[in-house]
C-alpha cells in the first residue's frame, strides 16, 4: 500500500514561493487507481514525487509501512516502484533490447524481450535491435516505455498519460496490458489519464486540481461531478460567447 501524508511541494518562481501541491493525503491500495484533473493541476509532479525524482517540501511517503521519503530514485525502484514517463527518453546507441534487459534487471533471452514487445503491440523482430533514438516515433517510444514497466513487473507501477500518442486501435489493447500486468504483479497500478475509457476501469479515481485533491472515490461517485464541472465550464463559455 502507498500512503501519502500531507505532501506539499513548493517551487520558487519570480522570487515568490509557488505551491504546486497542497497537503495531499492519499491511500492507494486498489488494483487500478486513476489520477485525473486539469492540466497544470499537479498530476505529473505527484508521480515524480512518488518515484523520487522530486523531493516533497514537506510530508511523508509510506510504501508498505516503510517511510521512503528520503530514499533515492534507485532505492525506490529497487523497492518496487516503476514509472513510465509521459515523454519517454531517447538514447543514442542503446537498443530496445538493452533497455528491456536493464528494466528486467537480469539477463533475458531474445524470446523473453520479444514477448514484452508483443504485449504492447510491437512486432518484436522489427524493433528488438533498433536504437532508442530519434528514428522511433512518439507512439513507438511510448509502447517501449510501457514494455519496460511490464518487464520490471514491480508491485507499484505508475503511468503518466500512457494513452497519449497511442492510436485508437490500440486503446483496447492498452487496457488489456494493464489487466494482464495486474495479474502478474498483484499490486497497484496508478494511471494518470484524461481518457474516460481508462477512468472507467479504475477502482478509484482521484481528481487533482490546483494542487489539491478535489475528489476521491469510485467512478460512480466521481464521474458525475467531473461531468458537472465540465458542463459548468461550457455553460460559462456559452455565456462569454
Amino acid at each position: 500500500m502507498l500512503e501519502l501524508k500531507d505532501i506539499c511541494f513548493n517551487v520558487r518562481q519570480d522570487s515568490k514561493e509557488k505551491e504546486i501541491l497542497k497537503n495531499i493525503n492519499l491511500k492507494i491500495d486498489e488494483r487500478f487507481v486513476a489520477i485525473t484533473g486539469p492540466n497544470g493541476g499537479g498530476k505529473s509532479t505527484l508521480a515524480k514525487i512518488i518515484a523520487g525524482i522530486e523531493k516533497p517540501t514537506s510530508g511523508k511517503i509510506i510504501l508498505d509501512g516503510e517511510d521512503i521519503t528520503d530514499l533515492s530514485i534507485t532505492d525506490r525502484a529497487n523497492k518496487g516502484v516503476s514509472f513510465a514517463f509521459q515523454q519517454p527518453v531517447r538514447f543514442k546507441g542503446l537498443t530496445v533490447k538493452d533497455l528491456i534487459t536493464l528494466a528486467s534487471g537480469k539477463k533475458i533471452t531474445i524470446a523473453e524481450a520479444c514477448s514484452y514487445l508483443s504485449e504492447v503491440g510491437l512486432c518484436a523482430k522489427d524493433y528488438i535491435n533498433r536504437e532508442v533514438n530519434a528514428s522511433l516515433s512518439g507512439g513507438e517510444l511510448k509502447r517501449i516505455e510501457i514494455a519496460m514497466i511490464i518487464a520490471r513487473g514491480t508491485k507499484l507501477s505508475l503511468f503518466d498519460e500512457p494513452e497519449a500518442g497511442i492510436d485508437l486501435w490500440s486503446f483496447n489493447n492498452l487496457i488489456r496490458v494493464f489487466e494482464s500486468l495486474h495479474e502478474k504483479i498483484k499490486g497497484s497500478i496508478i494511471i494518470i489519464s484524461h481518457q474516460e475509457r481508462i477512468l472507467n476501469i479504475a477502482d478509484k479515481i482521484i481528481v487533482l486540481s490546483g494542487g489539491e485533491v478535489t475528489a476521491v472515490g469510485t467512478k460512480d461517485e466521481v464521474m458525475p461531478k467531473l461531468i458537472e464541472s465540465s458542463e459548468a465550464c461550457s455553460t460559462l463559455l456559452d455565456k462569454l460567447a
Binding site: A51, I53, S72, I73, T74, A77, N78, V81, S82, F83, F85, P88, V89, F91, K92, G93, L94, T95, D98, L99, L102, A103, G105, M148, R152
Partner: protein
C-alpha cells in the same frame, strides 16, 4: 609471443591465435609472423619500413590482419603500409595497434596507410587503438590514412580508440572518383590528461560520389579533443559529416566541421552536438533500479558501441 603481446592482440584485433587468411604481425618494430594466400600477397618494402599488401582483382570474402604491438618502453616505430585493392575485390582489412608501456620512456607508433581501391572494389577497414601499462612513459599513436577510391569503389572505415592512448593525431584524407563512396565511423574515448586530434579531409571529385563521416566521442577527466572535418564537393555529390560528443568531468571538445561546395550540384550537410549526459537519461535508468554511476556507464557504453 608472450602473454602481454597475446593479450594486446586480443584487444586490438579480437584475435586469440594466429588469424585465418593473410596476416602480418609486427611486434616491437620487427616482423613476428606473416601469411599470404593465393589472392593476397604481402611484400616488405625495400626503401623504407613497411609493407605492400596486394589484393588480386575479384578476390572475395577474404581478410587481412595487420596488427602492430609495442611492448618495449621507449620504442618509436614508424611504418608505411600500402594497400592495393584490385578491381571488383571485396575484402576486410583489420589493422590496429596496441602499446603496453611499463617503462618511463615514450612509446610511439606512427602508421601511414595508403589505400588504392580499384574500380567497384569494396573494402571494410577496421582499426583499433589501445594503450596500457602502468609506467609513466607516454603512449602515442599518430595514424595517417590516405584513401584513393576509383570509380564505383566503396570503403567503410571503422576506427576505435577507447583507452590508454596519451596522445593521438589522426589524419585521414580521401579522394573519390565517379560513383565512389566512403563511410567513416570514428569512436574515441579519452581520459586523464589525454589529447586526441582528428582531421578528416574528403574530396568528392567524381559524379555521384558520396561520403558519410560520423564521429562519436567521450571526453572524461581533463582530456581534450579536437575534431576537424572537411568535405569538399567538387562535383554532383553528397556529403555528410556528424560529430557527437559527450563531455564528462572537465573534458574539453572542440568540433570544427566544415563544408566546401565547388559545384552547384554538391549537396553537403554537417551536424555537431556536444554536451554532458542528459539528466533525463540518467533519471530514466535510475527508475529501472540502476545507480547513477551504473546509469552513466550504460549510457556511455551504448553511445560508444
Amino acid at each position: 609471443m608472450d602473454a602481454i603481446q597475446k593479450s594486446m592482440l586480443e584487444k586490438i584485433a579480437d584475435l586469440h591465435e594466429v588469424p585465418e587468411g593473410a596476416y602480418n604481425i609486427r611486434s616491437n618494430g620487427a616482423l613476428a609472423g606473416r601469411n599470404t594466400t593465393a589472392n593476397i600477397d604481402i611484400v616488405t618494402k625495400q626503401d623504407k619500413p613497411g609493407i605492400d599488401i596486394i589484393i588480386k582483382p575479384g578476390t572475395k570474402n577474404e581478410s587481412v590482419h595487420i596488427p602492430v604491438i609495442l611492448s618495449e618502453s621507449g620504442l618509436n616505430d614508424c611504418v608505411y603500409n600500402d594497400f592495393y585493392i584490385g578491381e571488383g575485390a571485396d575484402v576486410v582489412i583489420v589493422a590496429g595497434c596496441g602499446i603496453h608501456n611499463c617503462g618511463t620512456d615514450t612509446s610511439e607508433h606512427d602508421g601511414i596507410h595508403t589505400f588504392f581501391i580499384g574500380k567497384n572494389a569494396k573494402v571494410k577497414y577496421i582499426e583499433k587503438h589501445y594503450g596500457e601499462g602502468d609506467g609513466t612513459g607516454e603512449k602515442i599513436l599518430n595514424p595517417t590514412t590516405i584513401v584513393h577510391i576509383d570509380e564505383g569503389g566503396y570503403m567503410e572505415m571503422e576506427t576505435t580508440q577507447i583507452k590508454g592512448v596519451d596522445s593521438t593525431i589522426r589524419d585521414t584524407q580521401a579522394d573519390l572518383k565517379d560513383g565512389a563512396s566512403l563511410v567513416i565511423k570514428e569512436k574515441i574515448m579519452t581520459h586523464g590528461n589525454q589529447t586526441a586530434e582528428t582531421n578528416f579531409v574528403v574530396n568528392l571529385d567524381g559524379v555521384d560520389s558520396s561520403a558519410n563521416v560520423i564521429s562519436r566521442s567521450v571526453a572524461k577527466d581533463s582530456s581534450k579533443q579536437v575534431f576537424n572535418s572537411k568535405i569538399c564537393g567538387n562535383n554532383k555529390c553528397y556529403g555528410h559529416t556528424e560529430c557527437d560528443a559527450i563531455l564528462m568531468d572537465n573534458g574539453h571538445v572542440n568540433a570544427v566541421p566544415s563544408l566546401e561546395a565547388n559545384d552547384l550540384d554538391a549537396s553537403l550537410i554537417h551536424e555537431a552536438a556536444i554536451g554532458k549526459i542528459a539528466g533525463e537519461q540518467l533519471i530514466k535508468l535510475m527508475t529501472l533500479g540502476l545507480t547513477e554511476h551504473e546509469a552513466e556507464e550504460q549510457i556511455i557504453n551504448g553511445f560508444m558501441k
